[in-house]
Structure formats: structure tokens, C-alpha cells
């Protein structure tokens, strides 16, 4: 089954930028054959092709705040994420990996992205 990573990409906070960069680590690096992403806004418009991808895939969501936009939108189109990652919860485990700003997540943010990538790669199917 295909694996799809859906970040919130929140534009107001550094955690949103972390969700986006962590996703690109998985989908554009050496794991790109196994993971892909889709544009989250397509789920808002209920794009037929995007909905089909969600239904046919193992979906991982990465959210930056409690609104859980990525997870909510995946469920809105009938998807069932196998893993729902909350960036602040990952940071709580690795407190030194604090991101700087939405413009530049900094070294801490990049380490946090690595943490998230490892969670996706190492432990599937359970909520974080």
C-alpha cells in the first residue's frame, strides 16, 4: 500500500513549518520511493483524485497545533490516518530540538524534523 504523508503546513507558526519540512524529508530524500505527499488544500475542495489517493493509501498526518487541520481534513474526506503526529508532543520528548521561527526553523527545528521522520519510519500504526 502506498504511504502518504500529509502535513498541516500552518503558515502562522514554526511548528507548521516543521510539519512541512519533515514531510519533505520523507518524500524528497532517500525514502521518496516509499512516501509521497499530496496538497492538503485539495482535500478542502474535495478533489476527486486527492480523495482517492487518501482512500487507497496508508496516511500519516503531521500537525503543528491542536486544531489538527491535517488530521481533520483527511478524516473529512473519509480517510483514516494510521498515525497522527503532533509536533509539540514530539518536541516534548526532545526539548532541545526547539524550532526558531516560521521563516527559519533553525538547527533545532531541523533536528525536530529528523525526530518526526524517525517516528514515521520506525513505528507505524499507533497514535503519537
Amino acid at each position: 500500500m502506498k504511504k502518504v504523508v500529509v502535513p498541516c503546513s500552518g503558515i502562522g507558526k514554526a511548528f507548521g513549518a516543521v510539519s512541512r519540512e519533515a514531510t519533505h524529508l520523507l518524500t524528497e530524500g532517500r525514502h521518496s520511493n516509499d512516501y509521497r505527499t499530496i496538497c492538503l488544500p485539495l482535500l478542502m475542495t474535495e478533489d476527486t483524485e486527492a480523495k482517492q489517493v487518501i482512500h487507497d493509501s496508508e496516511v500519516y498526518t503531521i500537525d503543528g497545533c491542536p486544531a489538527k487541520c491535517a488530521s481533520t481534513l483527511v478524516k473529512h474526506v473519509g480517510g483514516k490516518p494510521v498515525m497522527e503526529i503532533m509536533v509539540p508532543k514530539v518536541l516534548a520528548v526532545n526539548k532541545d530540538h526547539k524550532p526558531d521561527t516560521v521563516l527559519d526553523i533553525g538547527d533545532g527545528g531541523r533536528l525536530l524534523c529528523q525526530d518526526i521522520m524517525k517516528i514515521v519510519l520506525e513505528s507505524g500504526g499507533k497514535e503519537q
Binding site: M44, K68, L103
Partner: protein, 134 residues
């Protein structure tokens, strides 16, 4: 002195499309550098997943949507869940095929020419919308 509203900038930030990275970078340039005092941003998915404050803002104040491709998700989402945007920008109008399959998704950075061009256009629209506000 008359009231001048802040303008809401709604970026699609499409993750699977270089145009989405341009829309995000241009929006951030406006918010943080070009017009920080005149703008607010709204996370697009919050129109659906949020508490309702985002919908209320866009019902009463002007918004500019910045989309990475011709699917215009930000414009459609804003209109569907709140109100018709005052301005709809499509990055595809600047760079042509914004979402081709083989393009790198993150290669566009904030210092590219097109990001600057889009950001300047957004800033011009902001100035116009605020000056025309009654």
C-alpha cells in the same frame, strides 16, 4: 482618521507543488517584511477545521488568496467556507506549469525573482484594498 482594515492573506502552501512553495514564500515575505502592519494570515485549512474566527474575519474584511496552481484551492476554499476573496492570485500565471510532476517541490526559495515579483504584487493589492475601503 478613517478605519483601514488589515488584509487577510491566504496561501495554499501546496505541499506537492513548487507553486505551493512560491505561494508560501511570497505570503511570508509580505507578512514579515513588506506589509507586516497591514496584514494577517489565515491558515487555509482552519476555515474548515478551526473555531470559526477565520471564517468571520474573511466575511467582514478583504482577503487575498495566493494559489500555487490553476486548481485555485485557496480561492475556492475561502469562498466555500467564508466569503469570496477580494483578489485571487495564481502562481501559474507567473511561472507557467507550476505543478509538473518532475519538478522538485522545495527548490523555490524566498530569494527567487518570482517570489519577489508575487510578493510585490500582493503588496500593491493590499495598498489598493486599504485605500478603497469604505
Amino acid at each position: 482618521m478613517s478605519f483601514k482594515p488589515k488584509v487577510g492573506i491566504v496561501s495554499c502552501s501546496g505541499e506537492d507543488c513548487p507553486g505551493g512553495s512560491v505561494s508560501r514564500a511570497a505570503t511570508l515575505a509580505v507578512l514579515h517584511r513588506l506589509r507586516p502592519a497591514d496584514t494577517v494570515t489565515i491558515c487555509l485549512p482552519l476555515f474548515l477545521a478551526g473555531s470559526g474566527a477565520e471564517r468571520e474575519f474573511a466575511r467582514h474584511f478583504p482577503t487575498i488568496t495566493v494559489d500555487g496552481c490553476g486548481k485555485m484551492c485557496a480561492a475556492k476554499g475561502t469562498a466555500k467556507y467564508s466569503s469570496e476573496p477580494a483578489v485571487k492570485i495564481n502562481i501559474g500565471d507567473y511561472i507557467g506549469h507550476a505543478c509538473t510532476e518532475d519538478d522538485g517541490k522545495t527548490m523555490v526559495s524566498e530569494d527567487t525573482h518570482v517570489v519577489e515579483q508575487v510578493a510585490n504584487d500582493i503588496a500593491s493589492h493590499i495598498d489598493r484594498l486599504r485605500s478603497e475601503w469604505r
